[in-house]
Symmetry: D2
Subunit: 260 residues, 4 copies
């Protein structure tokens, strides 16, 4: 039972400058709190609600930024992959390849990510029962890569709503894989509100506390210095200046949860 890890960063890599600025400030915060940081950011938002949604820097431009972030700050880096061709190149510059929830059953993508040897973080589909994540896990492990994380990020609950079933955490943990709770996308209100997904960041601390009290290896929280003007997931990102307080709380709950 290692201490809680944080997977955090802005939803998308907006620019080299923004990525470095966010990384630097997050690293400071995590240093003060005493929580390990995995820096997360997306080079491409491949399933925006509409064509006009901003998608991020793109693979080619992002590769050197990932490499430099890792070199500069010394933390592990995580990003999500959408096509199997992307896996090999990204594996050169990041530590964890993340499989998006919608794609958690796409065999070829899981196998391609597995073959890189990097840690693979599979997000549970909104349409999937927690006990069925064993099959996604097995696709990676049976491809020769035992380093898999499984992430809870909410289940479909009627239309335009997700619900976080805290039972899924121990159910998925029974596979032996470390479990991540994604507090950002769990509060998403999926679907088009005038062409982009909504959310309610007020519930991020609520669900994160609940999950950490149940017991998880890591918590995933997207953050931004100005979420209301961020190009994606703004409604559910936590303002950067509230992260330290939130993380301090979560570390206390984590110590208690793992004390036994």
């Amino acid at each position: 039972d290692l201490p809680l890890t944080l997977i955090a960063g802005p939803c998308q890599m907006e620019s080299r400058e923004h990525a470095f600025e966010m990384a630097g400030r997050l690293k400071e915060i995590c240093g003060r709190v005493g929580i390990g940081l995995v820096y997360k950011t997306s080079f491409d938002k491949a399933n925006r609600t509409s064509l006009s949604g901003r998608r991020g820097l793109g693979l080619e431009s992002a590769l050197p930024v990932f490499a430099d972030l890792r070199k500069e700050f010394g933390f592990p880096v995580l990003t999500d992959v959408h096509e199997r061709e992307q896996c090999a190149d990204l594996a050169e510059v990041v530590d964890i390849l993340q499989i998006p929830a919608f794609l958690c059953r796409q065999t070829d993508l899981l196998v391609a990510a597995a073959k890189t040897g990097r840690v693979v973080n599979v997000k549970k589909g909104q349409f999937l029962a927690p006990w069925d994540m064993q099959y996604s896990l097995a696709k990676v492990v049976d491809s020769g890569n035992p380093n898999v994380l499984l992430t809870e990020r909410g289940a479909s609950f009627g239309y335009n709503t997700l619900v976080s079933d805290m039972r899924s955490l121990p159910i998925m943990a029974a596979t032996g894989a470390p479990i991540v709770f994604d507090a950002t996308h769990s509060v998403q209100q999926p679907g088009g509100q005038g062409g982009s997904s909504g959310g309610d960041r007020a519930f991020v601390p609520v669900l994160a506390r609940a999950a950490v009290a149940v017991g998880v290896a890591a918590v995933f929280i997207e953050t931004h210095q100005d979420p209301d003007n961020a190009p994606s997931d703004g409604p559910n990102m936590v303002p950067l200046d509230r992260m330290e307080d939130l993380l301090t709380q979560l570390m206390a709950f984590d110590r208690l949860a793992k004390a036994r």
Copy 2:
């Protein structure tokens, strides 16, 4: 932010002897843990899956037992009411009248319970959004009784399954009413498994920890010295000999949650 209270007891009042035995042992446990106890037991299980399901002692037989339990042990007593005619008699011998989840919108029952002046605990219907509990609350308050508790006990999630949405706790708390988390019925698998409802008590500590970390006034946990042979709710009751450990955990999470 008062310390966490426990609402606990066997699902149904099986006999005077059983009620006293359980009450005595629970009071001891709560004394050691340092948690306040409200003793809960049902005189009638009015919505068993089938006619042949055992229903409990019945109102007439139960009234003196409630009175004697309260006198003997000095704790508040809670029981659920199903018909408005029951409210006045029960109000003589118990402290809290509980409105079952299926009945949380039955105006006459809410008003009759309210008129007794006793505390009314309204369980949220499995079919109800947390923001709609304000209307059940208002029916009691507008009948002249401001002493209302609201209880989360799971929401319908497909067939034969409930899910606990931890967001409902702060949403209902915004009404100003103290919030109870019912960890027993939240793990119920409603519907007929050969004629009675199922459940999985392994998830009681999981959901209870989550809810207490989010922050609640009380946790509701049914318990029995031999759940597998209990006449109702056996699959989701916690064995009495595991309560002390569970309550000790929950008190630690509660102190942390309310420290801020």
Copy 3:
């Protein structure tokens, strides 16, 4: 496979005059369409969202109106019961006692309705799987009354939304009971929209056509000469002047569904 029957009327008995006016007009329409009519109206809306919602004439005032409606028009009359004490009196003046969906597991109410010997129409709870309605059915049958109808009226689907699972119709029909599809409450948006439930009557014909094509004994459609000013269920009642066209459609689908 008898032809489709219509269960229809205004949601609540607003007054003797209104009840007679609606009954007369409905009887004419059904005569032209050639569909059998069961007249439905509620003497009390016992679970309005808020205390201030209008509840109907009340039991005492309604009893003679039910009797006179039946005498005047010669059709069977259906109304819903909320408390067991109401069953015997109502059984004198109506032909079918209806158990509201929220109350479909309340043993004493089911037994009291059964004991009257009248037909009992049990509405499936929004929280119940269709295969679990066999247990509600058995409570009536095992009380000595084999005359039971089962009604589909939607299942909880996230918050404030119902979904109609058409598979429930053959699943419940496998019990041997005639099946009713309630097209009015299936399009309800339950919960408080400023203190009363919403709905969308545009989907009444959609769901009614689907259900009749699957095959049902009866369809339940609330109607009103001016739904937008009706005291309850206005958003999901069909205007009276659109009923003839809708019923003509449904009869054609019913003939086709039962031709085989």
Copy 4:
């Protein structure tokens, strides 16, 4: 309001011989019934529950079979695409490119399919509200291709269950796109039952009748001469020898639905 079209075939292209055998028999059946046929089969099942699930012939082997099927039988051919690179090659030999439900928000795949100029059939994600399909549609249309079909195939309803909301048909039809009802995958029980998804083909006619009565442009039904031994989707495919009777029924309902 054109007459109902059938999209049908075996879930996967098992071999050239099997594809031709199924195509020939289906064409005969559809000729007798008088229903237009689009032949559907998958060259690759890209999201099987486990690695060991059979995936079909594969793209290279399938391309000439698609071409020869179309030439031999003269019907349009539909297949599903999983990666954008597949779209151009497939567009040479099939008439309709289908976007799988899990991938209905993957912008690059939608755009690549759109750019071929072929008809694009987008299946609604199990996690998506029907009103949000306008955004998937727009991604295709705004890429210069107005030839889009939208398919209903069930929505997540708790774990391991789908529900078909018949309201989604008119909601999606309001976009102007022709609507397909997939009666095969709507009865799927998603998730791993010992490593593959289950289903219940007994409900295919139930849901198909309902959808056709509501009104759709096409119905999608997978079929196999021996479903219980088919390599995928066996539990929900209709035996070939029951198709004629089912289609005859559906055509009668379609005529009635479109008579007005």
